[in-house]
């Protein structure tokens, strides 16, 4: 085959790949935006969840054209340029060592995509008060105004919860009032755990001696799963719980009941504090 005919042949292949990519993307994008995206985990019942779903949708949208292109390219070339049985499979292919326009186009589009995602992700993180993730003791993305504080204490192998605005009462159940900014303070008494409230879209590691803050506002009442997301020893697999989100009045009733139940044992607990030191240590000096 003469080289110009071969080049023309290749141009046809290139146009076909481009066309297939455009068609595939055109089919996939609406599916991603309208079908997959809104149903992405962890669900839209909380502010954190909403921001994560939106974020995941944007990620999917940006990834789709690249994915379609690469998959179609591989499939097409393998099918179109395959040596047919009976053909001379020792003959060489075209001596193409590179193609500057393609390289530049690839570099430009991938760089733009990456920079966009990084900037978008940062903006989304700040706009959603940390998107439910643990931000450490000095969070930078926080809601304006006050928030309802709940402390989550992880220990091997149980989560317990303290409510500072209710006298530091420690409960075995996590119950939250709906429609309010919640400020989680997550800490640990021993190993590293991780407080993962799945439907809330909250995850914050629990480190001993550290106060890890995460924010969320829950929009719907219901129950949610809590699981420990950091291997913490023998019964890590059993460190799970179910939390509830209830109306303000139900919460008030519940917490009053908890205070009454634990009034007797409250005196044996350490005072509420952002971190705890389980054993008194006086090793040096």
């Amino acid at each position: 085959m003469s080289s110009s005919a071969a080049a023309g042949n290749r141009r046809t292949h290139a146009l076909r790949i481009a066309a297939l990519t455009v068609i595939a993307t055109a089919i996939a994008l609406p599916l991603v935006i309208f079908v997959l995206g809104p149903n992405m985990p962890p669900g839209k019942d909380t502010t954190a969840g909403v921001s994560q779903v939106f974020d995941n949708t944007v990620l999917l949208v940006v990834m789709t054209p690249f994915t379609m292109f690469i998959l179609i390219f591989i499939l097409y070339t393998v099918l179109a340029f395959r040596v047919r049985p009976g053909d001379d499979d020792q003959r060489d292919g075209a001596p193409i060592r590179g193609h500057m326009p393609s390289q530049i186009a690839w570099l430009a589009t991938t760089t733009a995509a990456v920079l966009f995602l990084a900037i978008f992700g940062s903006a989304e993180l700040l706009a959603s008060n940390g998107s439910g993730g643990g931000e450490g003791p000095k969070p930078i993305a926080k809601p304006s105004g006050s928030a309802f504080q709940v402390q989550v204490i992880g220990q091997q192998w149980e989560f317990t919860y303290r409510y500072p605005s209710y006298g530091g009462v420690e409960t075995a159940q996590l119950v939250l009032p709906v429609g309010q900014e919640i400020e989680f303070h997550v800490t640990s008494l021993d190993a590293v755990h991780s407080f993962w409230a799945y439907e809330l879209g909250v995850k914050a590691d629990a480190n001993p001696g550290v106060d890890n803050v995460a924010f969320v506002k829950v929009k719907k009442q219901g129950t949610f799963q809590i699981r420990c997301a950091e291997l913490c020893g023998l019964w890590h697999g059993y460190m799970f719980d179910t939390g509830r989100v209830v109306s303000q009045s139900q919460f008030a009733t519940w917490i009053a009941g908890q205070q009454k139940t634990f009034a007797g044992s409250q005196q044996y607990l350490p005072k509420y504090s952002l971190t705890y030191t389980p054993d008194p240590q006086d090793r040096a000096g």
Partner: protein, 224 residues
């Protein structure tokens, strides 16, 4: 059949390796080993500054934890002078003066061993233990592992000096002599004694970097 190689074992065809090859490898190897060593101590450097900035429970450096500054300074001096002596020794060897290499090398070796001995003294007389705060832990671990590296590097020096002493009245050794196999194959090193100088250069570089790390250790653990 390949024109590049055959399965023949006629080693008259295969030339023995010129010492420049191994000399190059020693030089590059010394640089690479030094960079790996530096990264080993970077971990301690990070640990020092990170735990100091966290100061958990105020227990970074409790009162009463005092490092022995005199001993530590002596160790730093011993290490630094030893490295300088090694660099001088390598330079003398490059100029052909094998006697000066041996003398300066012995001085460097003695100082290096003295540093290790002094460090043992530090460990037995220091007034605090590993549980006395994070600084104490870093101090003991960092100085201890540093001496392991010093010991290994002194072994290298001993090897160079031993070879120099063994062949002090000879110009060269036969190839394959060290391997002890008189039927050695053709790809052994021709003129292995000529590797002394590249070896000394590589050693001096390695020891110089390690001594530099030692001085940095002294500054961070004792002075700051």
């Amino acid at each position: 059949m390949s024109e590049l190689a055959s399965h023949s074992t006629d080693y008259s065809v295969i030339e023995s390796e010129p010492p420049e090859v191994m000399g190059r490898n020693l030089r590059v190897g010394a640089h690479l080993w030094s960079s790996a060593t530096a990264f080993f101590f970077v971990a301690f450097l990070f640990t020092y500054f990170y735990l100091r900035s966290l100061n958990n429970h105020g227990l970074w450096h409790p009162k009463g934890v005092k490092p022995p500054v005199t001993l530590g300074t002596l160790i730093a001096i011993a290490v630094a002078v030893s490295a300088i002596a090694s660099l001088a020794a390598a330079r003398r060897l490059r100029a052909g003066d094998r006697g000066a290499f041996r003398s300066l090398g012995l001085v460097a070796l003695a100082l290096g061993i003295a540093a290790i001995v002094l460090q043992i003294v530090v460990f037995s007389t220091v007034g605090f233990g590993p549980t006395d705060g994070a600084y104490a832990s870093v101090f003991l671990a960092w100085s201890g592992f540093y001496m392991v590296f010093v010991a290994g590097t002194m072994y290298w020096l001993e090897v160079l000096l031993a070879t120099s002493f063994r062949y002090r009245s000879q110009v060269a050794s036969e190839p394959g002599e060290a391997s002890g196999d008189p039927d050695r194959m053709g790809d052994d090193i021709a003129r292995p004694l000529s590797l002394q100088s590249p070896g000394a250069d590589a050693f001096a570089f390695t020891w110089g970097v390690l001594a530099g790390i030692g001085v940095l250790t002294w500054i961070i653990l004792y002075l700051i």
